[in-house]
Symmetry: C2
Subunit: 265 residues, 2 copies
């Protein structure tokens, strides 16, 4: 296999350009960096993997990723360290990246599967938080994550990295604003639980057995009043010590695990 | 008040030097960056605040922090933006930092208070993880965090930032290695619960009503076998989806909240 060595080639530039939202939207592709993300991509979304780029060293270190990609007839290209560094925005892509086709489900598709546990993010701006919520939702066995249009792009390299592969495990719906999301979920009979530090009732006092969605707001200022008011209940994670709050990803994961414990018995 | 304007002064250098562990150990002082950390320092550890450095703009924005510091007879110094930037290792210290005296309790002091809920970190290397565990332990109302000598220094600026002020809310014990910690906790009748993804039983199946400590290992490779074997039980946070794991801070916080729910009924 010929090794790609020119970090200024058009191919390298087009991979690097996937760091920009406009390019992702136009090409309907996104970038996955590092062995964990690429492994989960070839395992769970092999048909969508367009290209895998790997240094000779990383190819030796992760033979099962390369094998799985090749079995699925995906294009695996060996590249120099310099080319890989030029493709990626991280300092440590650990020798492997993949370009993957975007395939987001619609909310209607998710609702047709009669979900029991969802999480809605609105106004979430921090990539690490959004990615960690997706990872936590995956671990808690939630049915999908729904991210409103005023939030960070969940296919940005930083969010994808923070999901630790969960991007390929759990459906993530985007493209709707929060009033549309609320209307659709309500129409499907899904209870809306606003997670908000200002609540008087705690998550342990709520009925979490029927289908519901946790609605989480901005990292710093929480949910907008009109969103909170549109929900069926407002609940908080109890704070027993002197901490002002938990971070968003932590609060979301605790809410989702409280639901899983009740729903899965 | 005279404004300090020389970013190359000895005072500035001595503040900046607190980014180094050796200097913190020699001077028994550490650096707190940003309004949230400094606010909690002057609220909960006023007697230990040595100096507060603030830009004129930040002094206007956070008058209650300055007032609380001055009421406690702490030294508040106005500094130029350039001086503040030279004191801090972050790009965005938000105009305010404080130098605070170290006052870590001993494990014997903590045990004398008959704690019911503790968390032990061993081999934890990532500052963000360690800080977020301290924040989560504070929120869950744990009695203390115990960090073994082979872990990250919990008074490094990065850890302190990640605690979001919880450094000043919950006792953090350091300076003991993991065999000493295990022996002391066992001697005090505290059950040791190893949190480990390899466990067969989940945290929901354990008895969390009596006094116990969650023992958490390294971010990547978990607990060392001899530490796991030395614990009374090995338990895992259940993973319901396809995620390989939760990150350390998330797992610790879920464990601690499971305990709080049982202990606080």
């Amino acid at each position: 296999m010929a090794v790609l060595t020119n970090p200024r080639s058009d191919r390298v530039k087009s991979v690097r350009a996937l760091g920009r939202r406009s390019v992702r939207e136009r090409t309907q592709r996104f970038l996955v960096e590092g062995p964990q993300g690429v492994r989960e991509a070839v395992r769970h979304a092999a048909g969508r993997v367009v290209d895998v780029y790997v240094t000779p060293e990383a190819a030796q270190r992760y033979p099962e990723i390369i094998e799985t990609a090749q079995e699925a007839s995906r294009y695996v290209h060996e590249v120099s360290d310099e080319v890989l560094a030029a493709m990626s925005e991280t300092d440590t892509p650990q020798g492997i990246v993949a370009v993957v086709a975007i395939a987001e489900p619609t909310l209607a598709e998710i609702l047709a599967r009669r979900p029991k546990l969802l999480v809605v993010l609105t106004n979430v701006r921090d990539p690490g938080n959004a990615g960690t919520v997706i990872r936590g939702a995956d671990a808690a066995g939630a049915d999908a994550v729904i991210v409103s249009t005023n939030s960070v792009d969940v296919l940005s390299p930083k969010v994808v990295r923070s999901t630790a592969g969960s991007t390929f495990h759990i459906p993530v719906v985007t493209g709707l604003d929060i009033p549309e999301i609320i209307a659709e979920l309500r129409g499907a009979g899904i209870r809306l639980l606003a997670a908000d530090g200002s609540a008087t009732r705690t998550i342990d006092e709520a009925d979490l057995s029927s289908a519901h969605a946790w609605v989480m707001g901005n990292e710093a200022w929480g949910l907008e009043p009109e969103v909170r008011d549109a929900c069926d209940e407002v609940l908080k994670v109890p704070i027993h010590g002197l901490a002002e709050s938990l971070n968003l990803a932590m609060a979301a994961t605790i809410c989702l695990y409280a639901s899983a414990r009740v729903q899965r018995g």
